[in-house]
Amino acid sequence: MVAIPLLDIQNLTVEFATRRGIVRAVEHINITLAKGETLGIVGESGSGKSVTSYAVMRILDRAGRIAEGSVHFTGLDVRNAPEDAMRDLRGREMSMIFQNPRAALNPIRKVGRQIEDVLLQHVQAAPNEVTEKAIEILDRVRIARPRERYHAYPFELSGGMCQRVVIALALACRPRLLIADEPTTGLDVTTQKAVMDLMVDLTRANDMATILITHDLGLAAAYCERVVVMEKGRVVETASSEKIFKSPSHAYTRKLMRATPRPGASLRGLLPEDMSEAAEKTVKASPKPNGKTKSSDKTKAPLLMVDKLLKEYPRQGLQSSLAKLFGPRPAPKPEVFRAVDGISFTVDRGESVGLVGESGCGKSTTSMMLMRLIDKTDGTIMFDGEDIGAIPAKKFARLPLRRRIQMVFQDPTDSLNPRFTAARAIADPILRLGDPEDGMPVRARCEELARQVGLPLDLLGRFPHQLSGGQKARVGIARAIALKPDLIVLDEPTAALDVSVQAVVLNLLQDLKESLGMSYLFVSHDLNVVRLLCDRVIVMRAGKIVEQGPTGRVLGAPEADYTRDLLAAIPHPPV
């Protein structure tokens, strides 16, 4: 080693003082980064990856401190440097991009002024030319009409646009190191690709080093030269992206790799090796009588038939009514907004259909209408030969039909009543709508359901806040299957879970579908997950169906341009 690395983290330990004593968020980690290099730090929640980056910038909050080890940036001792020197470094030599870009910007200051603040702080521009410089930087992050956007406030910009402004802020002074902490979490795939490409182009053009912190192994491998894998505050493996993907050496990396949904992987293959084999055996052992008979029943009519379904919402109620009162002329804009614009599709018995699209495409509104939680504006929803779309949502709750359509929600925490125990939550539909298993006591039925979804029985007495994310997801699934429904709508059921938990939950869903012979409508933004679980796919955009067909065909040889864009936007690791 002749050259000094740009960043040298040696034996770093970070501690936090909490109510329950001192917690070590990061323990004895070593990471080095050369000039101009791109490094990914990958780990699940609680792995200490963000804390590491805060320690590098020395912006840990009051409770945290570097307990051991050293961080050197271009030879400067970050741990012991005076605050003035650190402040001079931040923003000028090393910058950071955070997740949730909208919250990362001052809500009541023009974005242009926020960029100027950084420029002036680090004397990158004279006060009389700073505005021009800020506009130039906005242009550099490919914001259209930068001169206008200079005067915009964050709430006037989209999420992707806000992230561009955050990038502009971070790169304004052309730092030597950029740390991006989950920069695209919460953004749509196509936006994610645009933001990542922009970041890579700009850092490469200016020969900056980048640390990309992410939970998404695929993303890290696609954009980084080297990857550091962290687990519970420790570095378990450091290797080049290719090596990580081709021959991961540490067991945890292998588990993470396997669990990441990707083209070519099977659903069983997501599970850790030992569990996967066990699952294979049980599947082979059980002849799945229900699933077979129901799915081969192709002669019968489809379970669900949706025809020209339409949902309109009024635009900005108050303003238009005030305009009507006080304005002489009618409002020029159309009074309604079409969330779902005349879509038609079917779901067969025993089939699972994926409904994919980016945020705002109308997929959630569609699922809410199918669930009969909101009323449609027009069109029909035929369920097993009955027009359930014609029944008002308020009445539907007490009909026997209610038992046959159930749902698993996106956020397992939000979907459980904080004051109900797991058992009470699972029992709720049984108590309200009656148990299809005759004569079985509610408690015994709850225990049976818990066994079916793999929830340990001793957890039944716990409240949601005492359960982990995966356990809460299981409770939500148990509640959904309690009445043995024919159709379950799964609304991004694994979006809030870590990949390893996601792998287990996806497999559980598949097993349940086969053993109980249910149909699934799987609402998701993640094409890789849909690929694993669904027989057919429907792609939605702006309230309309762009394309639908068998999964293999739609994802293998897409006909619509939009589907192709979606597929292209998925980060492809170098395999």
């Binding site: 950071m96 919250a103 001052n106 603040d117 950084v118 709430f155 971070a170």
Partner: protein, 337 residues
């Protein structure tokens, strides 16, 4: 900006209508028969009903209400039964005394509470933070009339620093010429500095009483919102961009933290206007609060009605100003309007 102000003004109209209806209903329900009171203790039943007819009290509620709104539109709030004076004149004469007291109290309070809250938030667990916490918990528990009396006992009886709690001005001084009605400002405008000192010495204790009363909610809200803002993502971004602590705290945190504080000010003002009544009683302050209390105890409904109405209109106007102020700071409110 204009459209927002206009919109806010429109939103104030329903409040004002509600205020007028409620004040009308309240005073019609007042116990005691104004007609009997007006006719005198020796009046016959016949004389009383004559007076009642003269006052319009025998008409239906709707007719009375129409007449009441008509009178209001002409700026007529009726006459006080006890003093015989028009209520409008009396309220106009007494309002500056109350306004001067309340505003000075609020200014003193904001000047102490906001810096205290900010310092407490920027230095958690420091001495100033503990002081802030003590002030906020103890402050909300103090009955305002009790604080006033304690201040009188200590500064007038024990120390002799303050004058006797008997109104706006010592009897040896003559009132300054009426310009704004605020003695402090009028005496300065006319160059009478000894008069200014005399007025200030009378004003200090009641204003301090009000300030102590409103200190707690403002300091508490400043501290809480400052803490929340300092922990927010955009402050972290500002820190990670290497901005100086001064820029971070003033340009980034403070302006955002002021938004909930401004909203709280509206609430505080509501409390202050109520507390004003009690403080005026303790310090024999010739404001509209003590005027209303005297009328209340004498079942004299016109002044009570006038008082409640004046207070409510003041409060609605104040909320309007607060809303506009809020819009000046927060572009989200301004642009969406």
């Amino acid at each position: 900006m204009w459209s927002m102000t206009l919109k806010r003004l429109m939103f104030a109209i329903p409040s004002l209508i509600g205020v007028v209806i409620i004040t009308f209903l309240l005073t019609r329900a007042l116990p005691g028969d104004p007609a009997a009171y007006f006719a005198g203790p020796a009046a016959t039943q016949e004389a009383i009903s004559q007076v009642r007819a003269k006052l319009g009290l025998d008409k239906s509620l709707l007719v009375q209400f129409t007449r009441y709104v008509g009178d209001l539109a002409r700026g007529d709030l009726g006459n006080s039964l006890t003093t015989g004076q028009p209520v409008v004149t009396e309220i106009r004469n007494r309002l500056p005394a109350s306004a001067e007291l309340t505003l000075l109290g609020l200014i003193v309070s904001v000047l102490i509470a906001v810096p205290l809250g900010i310092l407490a938030a920027t230095k958690p667990d420091s001495l100033i933070d503990h002081a802030c916490r003590l002030v906020t918990t103890a402050g909300v528990s103090l009955p305002v009339f009790f604080t006033g009396l304690i201040l009188v006992y200590v500064f007038y009886y024990l120390l002799g620093w303050a004058p006797a709690p008997l109104g706006r001005l010592d009897i040896f001084f003559s009132t300054p010429p009426q310009i704004t009605g605020f003695y402090l400002i009028d005496s300065l405008l006319t160059g009478k500095f000894d008069l200014f000192r005399a007025a200030l010495s009378q004003l200090l204790l009641p204003a301090l009483t009000l300030a102590i009363f409103s200190l707690a909610p403002i300091a508490r809200m400043t501290r809480a919102s400052m803490l929340a803002v300092l922990a927010s993502d955009f402050v972290r971004t500002a820190r990670a961009s290497g901005l100086t602590p001064f820029t971070v705290i003033v340009t980034y945190a403070f302006r955002n933290a002021m938004l909930p504080v401004i909203t709280t000010l509206g609430m505080v003002f509501s409390f202050l206007l109520g507390a004003n009544v009690l403080v005026e009683k303790v310090f024999a302050w010739p404001g509209i609060g003590s005027y209303a209390v005297e009328a209340l105890l004498a079942s004299d409904f016109a002044p009570v009605q006038g008082f409640v109405l004046t207070m409510a209109v003041l409060y609605v106007a104040l909320n309007l100003i607060i809303d506009i102020l809020y819009g000046l700071i927060d572009p989200r409110v301004r642009i969406e309007a």
